[in-house]
Symmetry: C2
Subunit: 419 residues, 2 copies
Amino acid sequence: MTEAPETTPSRRALIGWGGAGLALGAVAAGGAVAMARTGDDVVPAAAGTGAAIPFHGERQAGIATPVQDRLHFAAFDVKTDDRAEFVQLLKDWTAAARRMTAGQSVGEGAYGGLAEAPPDDTGEALGLKPSRLTLTFGFGPSLFEKYGEAFGIADARPEALAELPKFAGDNLDKNRSGGDLCVQACADDPQVAVHAIRNLARIGMGKVVIRWSQLGFGKTSSTTPEEQTPRNLMGFKDGTRNIAGTETDRLEKFVWVGEKDGPAWMAGGSYLVARRIRMHIETWDRTSLQEQEDIFGRDKGEGAPVGKAKERDEPFLKAMLPDAHVRLAHPDSNDGATILRRGYSFTDGTDGLGRLDAGLFFLAYQRDPRTGFIRIQRNLALDALNEYIQHVGSALFAVPPGVRDKDDWWGRTLFGKEA
Amino acid sequence: MTEAPETTPSRRALIGWGGAGLALGAVAAGGAVAMARTGDDVVPAAAGTGAAIPFHGERQAGIATPVQDRLHFAAFDVKTDDRAEFVQLLKDWTAAARRMTAGQSVGEGAYGGLAEAPPDDTGEALGLKPSRLTLTFGFGPSLFEKYGEAFGIADARPEALAELPKFAGDNLDKNRSGGDLCVQACADDPQVAVHAIRNLARIGMGKVVIRWSQLGFGKTSSTTPEEQTPRNLMGFKDGTRNIAGTETDRLEKFVWVGEKDGPAWMAGGSYLVARRIRMHIETWDRTSLQEQEDIFGRDKGEGAPVGKAKERDEPFLKAMLPDAHVRLAHPDSNDGATILRRGYSFTDGTDGLGRLDAGLFFLAYQRDPRTGFIRIQRNLALDALNEYIQHVGSALFAVPPGVRDKDDWWGRTLFGKEA
């Protein structure tokens, strides 16, 4: 692991530097220049797991960025109908996110402020590296429903941001679904991701409240094909044919909202679908290897499609059972529909019946959910895998374009003009 | 990170080796020789995070072993009163633990068995390194209460294995407390820890059921003083004066059960106290820095005791407030009582009030809980920290000595003779 020292300051080193603002400003400016050219791709997959990912760019980081190891995802509900107060929160959140993704404490940090006041930062990430932290922000449909008039944004709601339809087999818990806002925190150190969500919640106190949150302990998809494909909790490789962070053409076609897609404030953004998918792993574990492989349409060891030898061989869909997961989810079965997956495995203790509450926290980015997730998920109504999984949480968010520079902020393209 | 190749086989490499049994046997034998001399300490703290920790030894690994980054802890209830069936489970679990800690799949693995049968291993750790996985096994008081007669072990119950008393401020959830058995899985890769617990639960199906389980995302104590002291979710360094894994004298005095302590089957073992400690982090975060530091008795940045300059300076207890946490927990305030801490931070989503369900999953090993945790926790009734924390789960386990060699198994010293 090699790290350029100037891009991987330890949090400890930055606290207490008189010149920290200056030094960081230089890093940020350099990052911004690079990002304006190439989006997220300035940080190669080979960058050390302690490195910092540039916060500024045309697009938000955390989408095409190489997938980090750990996740803390939070959905927030808004508790203020005061537009100015809400906009100030977006600015405050952006300032904190800018610092935390650079490996700095929020404000003056855990012990740089006044002794008589609560610290500006909760402190548990002091001494930890930036750990490739990305913070990715989005607006939910309910924000427009609840505050569209109060915030003067009712007319700006994208058609693509309709509530998701009910799918066959859904068993959604409303306490794990929806949300007016979301923040996806990904990092290679879970303490860094948890710290970030916690501090945003702290900053938002009285204005927003966490509706639900989810930890993910291991990535199930990679956006870097040269990496070993991660395995989900069913033991299968997941995301073999995922969109790579470097595939500019497929990103433009399937992930980024285009200038003409509308509304204008979403150009360069994306739509995020989050689904908490519980796996009935005890039942799965009693299923024969042959049946498991038939259900997926790939072999378990190598991950090769049915009848093929290697993981990355082109699948021959007709060789699979009609209800095989890979066959039904394949673009050829869905008018070409393709999404960028960024999911994580979760285990949240045990249910009341002695079973692990475990599964896949599915995260997918797409240019339009109607031609992305919704198209594919409707086809998966027949999926043989449905006997072993259940969707128990669901949310959709409009993820605006990136924060361009130090004067920009999350949501400016939507809220930047006076109402 | 340097790793000796022969001690860090990838799980992938081992599957499919015709000679895997032979190669692993050699590693295990070498490990056993070293362990008989030095206990856990054969793996230095500097060993790579992908390395394997020897499973065989006088003591169980996962106690004095340098603390790994992640945790999955499970308490099980026993569902069979058939002694032979239970003993067979202990042997089957040991065999699986021996393989998994070496980085191997259980049995023939996820795709080495018959296609018509469920795989021997659930597969999600294929291709991952051993990741310093340790599996540490214990018996709870309720095993003796429920099955003492059926298993012929009623007379063997240690006096030290009485139920813990109720402490001031306890608000225990019985669904997060107790358990007839426990397995502590620690690893640097959480997927490896989760995989291990899941496979033990799978092997135990019908004979045991998971009562509760807990994921820990970051260690809060270190047993390697040369390492940076980790911070808990209150932002303070935790475990500065913890017993180091290399401090043989303090381990003998405070952690390992001695030959004369009785009963004989526990000699070389230890007692584990597990407490789920919820932190009211939103309240804590609104507390002034001065008050936070007064409550702990250390400063937040450096971690130095009140009036001292450096973290490892000797605390001067009288300089602290009478109810400061460090003062009340210090051995000088507890007749010398000292425990080895091995706790982890947790965040389990959100409670119904928009607050993070977060805190410390406290794990402490000691020679006798009556002169260890119980002594200290009684003194902490006055702890100023109690305004910000609440103990919501509790368990105690007798952790028997180590598995000596390939013919030995978890609990043999208790169950090895015919009833």
